[in-house]
């Protein structure tokens, strides 16, 4: 069974995001970029399935600028076998990514696509569901547990009320939630080995996909600033303030 893992290059989750003064977006110049954390979980899940003998090959794919290849290298260092880069400069929205991935699925024929539930930059939480729709495949979103059977996969999902398990016919799309696993750090030898693993390239044109954004960003602003309040000296003072000043109890 082949597994495809889409990985996105995003601003590192530890970086303090700054909105550009001209209101066109956030400042990404000289900012640390990393693999989207949910995608690390997806790579880990795929590599573990390979280590368990369930998967035969793990292919990492990223759409974006040339530097997205670094993100693919990270996936290769974690244990993916080879990479695919779809070069795109400029903004890419989830529907366009889903269309690119659909075209790649048509070439690669994976039995499973494992990807993040959400990119921590656009916070869209769409691409996996869209890809499943375009392929006519089932979707196991927000996964915290996977069990592969011969022609199906059991996915335990983190839902608002707790957990839910669904059985999906393969091929299927799975999106990862935080509790699926703890991604490994790539070891130095594996980072060295990853340098020799192949990364192929496919342009959107070759894949026959129009990636023009459908949503136009009119402006990006700072969120309203919350004023830090006071430190109180005692619990009695706290309760008094909640009752008589804030009037919330």
């Amino acid at each position: 069974m082949k597994i495809l893992v889409p990985v996105k290059r995003v601003i590192d989750f530890n970086v303090k995001v700054r909105v550009k003064a001209d209101g066109t977006g956030v400042d990404l110049a000289n900012v640390k970029m990393s693999m989207n954390p949910f995608d690390e979980i997806a790579v880990e899940a795929a590599v573990r399935l390979k280590e368990a003998g369930t998967a035969t090959e793990v292919v990492a794919v990223s759409c974006g600028p040339a530097q997205a290849q670094e993100t693919i290298r990270t996936a290769l260092a974690m244990g993916a076998d080879r990479g695919l880069h779809v070069p795109v400069e400029g903004e890419l929205q989830p529907l366009a990514v889903a269309k690119l991935l659909k075209a790649i699925v048509a070439e690669e024929n994976p039995a499973l696509v494992i990807m993040g539930k959400q990119a921590i930059d656009d916070d869209c939480n769409q691409t996996g569901q869209m890809l499943a729709a375009l392929l006519g495949w089932p979707q196991g979103t927000f996964a915290s547990k996977l069990a592969v059977e011969s022609d199906a996969i059991l996915v335990t999902r983190e839902v608002d009320g707790g957990l839910e398990t669904v059985k999906l016919r393969l091929p299927a799309v799975v999106t990862t939630d935080l509790r699926l696993n703890e991604p490994r750090y790539a070891s130095l030898p594996n980072i060295m080995k990853a340098k020799k693993k192949p990364i192929d390239s496919r342009t959107p044109e070759a894949l026959g996909v129009d990636v023009t954004p459908r949503l136009e960003t009119i402006k990006v602003a700072e969120p309203p600033k919350r004023q830090g309040g006071v430190k109180v000296g005692s619990v009695a003072e706290l309760v008094d303030k909640l009752k008589n000043e804030a009037r919330v109890i």
Binding site: I11, F13, K16, V17, V19, V26, P94, L95, A98, I120, D123, N125, Q126, T127, Q129, M130, L131, A132, A133, L134, G136, P138, Q139, F142, L154, E158, V159, D160, G161, G162, L163, E164, T165, V166, K167, R169, A172, L178, R214, L215, E216, T217, I218, V220, A221, P223, R226, G228, G229, V230, K231, V232, S234, V235, L238, V239, L242, K243, V248, I249
Partner: protein
């Protein structure tokens, strides 16, 4: 221009987030229809929807294949209806987030996720980068497919209307997926995302056993209990307690953060609360930068004191 709102319900009643989603629909403006899809939802759920003032029509799709909200079976029902609508809305709950992108892709539409404001019928406000930036976006698609951040919109009233109920075609099972089981957390407490007061615990609580000390305070305040990711990862509480960028978004009147440092991913889920209280032994903890009232000290002494003090005044 007509708006279709996909209701979230449990067969008997409408989930409160649906009322906030209707609040967003009202801001967009136009006639509003509500879809109730499920199994055996003809009576209670559809009738509850019909009583919501401002709803012009309730559509019901009743089919065993729709029992568990499986997106594979439900998306075709919505897609089939969507052609007649200018907007399709659902709450940005795990239900809406799972379903709506599937609908959007089948309609060849770029969804607008988690809107927190409506500027115009084609222009919406949404938080990005864990709420560290607020984007205003305009959709060029013919149908706007939208999930709604429910805490950002006032709910419409639940009663007072008399909308007609009409059946719409279900499409059976797509044969792709089946529901196996659910482990739903049982709690007598209010629902986290709509509670008036939320008491949340973090890694500072130290264990599942210790986490229980929050219950007394939550009981006194009639509060829901939430948690940071660290507390969930450590197994102190189940996943559905997680508040934050990638968990639940809450905006109660009062949010009490206990033993939570205040990472941006946590703040993303609670910083729109009206009043924030932080209890933390580290006076440098970032949570104090957003807290209206902070108290520095050991939570294991402060929480019992707080419970006792609340008992005096409530």
């Amino acid at each position: 221009m007509t708006i279709l709102v996909i209701a979230e319900h449990d067969g008997k009643s409408i989930k409160s987030g649906t009322l906030n989603t209707l609040g967003a629909a009202r801001k967009i403006g136009g006639e509003i229809h509500v879809l109730i899809a499920g199994a055996d939802c003809r009576d209670a759920a559809a009738e509850a929807a019909a009583r919501i003032p401002g709803v012009a029509k309730v559509l019901i799709a009743d089919d065993p294949a729709l029992a568990h909200g499986l997106a594979e079976n439900l998306a075709p029902v919505v897609v089939n209806l969507a052609k007649d609508y200018g907007h399709v809305l659902a709450p940005a709950s795990s239900f809406g987030k799972n379903l709506l992108p599937r609908v959007a892709a089948l309609l060849d539409v770029q969804q607008i996720s988690d809107i927190s404001g409506v500027e115009a019928p084609d222009t919406f406000v949404r938080p990005i980068y864990a709420g560290n930036a607020i984007a205003t976006v305009r959709s060029t698609d013919p149908i706007k497919v939208i999930t709604v951040r429910t805490t950002a919109f006032d709910p419409v009233p639940a009663d007072g209307g008399t909308a007609p109920i009409e059946a719409t075609a279900a499409q059976g099972s797509a044969g792709l997926s089946e529901f196996v089981s659910a482990e739903i957390s049982q709690s007598e407490r209010p629902e986290l995302t709509s509670a008036r007061v939320v008491v949340s615990g973090g890694r500072g609580l130290g264990s599942a056993e210790n986490f229980k000390i929050l219950e007394g305070v939550a009981d006194k305040l009639g509060a829901a209990i939430g948690a940071s990711r660290a507390a969930v990862d450590a197994g102190y509480v189940p996943n559905d307690y997680q508040v934050g960028q990638t968990g639940k978004v809450v905006a109660p009147e009062l949010y009490v953060a206990v033993g939570i440092s205040g990472a941006i991913q946590h703040l993303a889920g609670m910083k729109d609360s009206k009043v924030i209280v932080a209890i933390n032994k580290d006076e440098e903890a970032p949570i104090f930068q957003v807290a209206d009232y902070g108290i520095v000290g050991d939570l294991f002494t402060i929480v019992p004191e707080l419970e006792a003090e609340l008992a005096k005044v409530l």
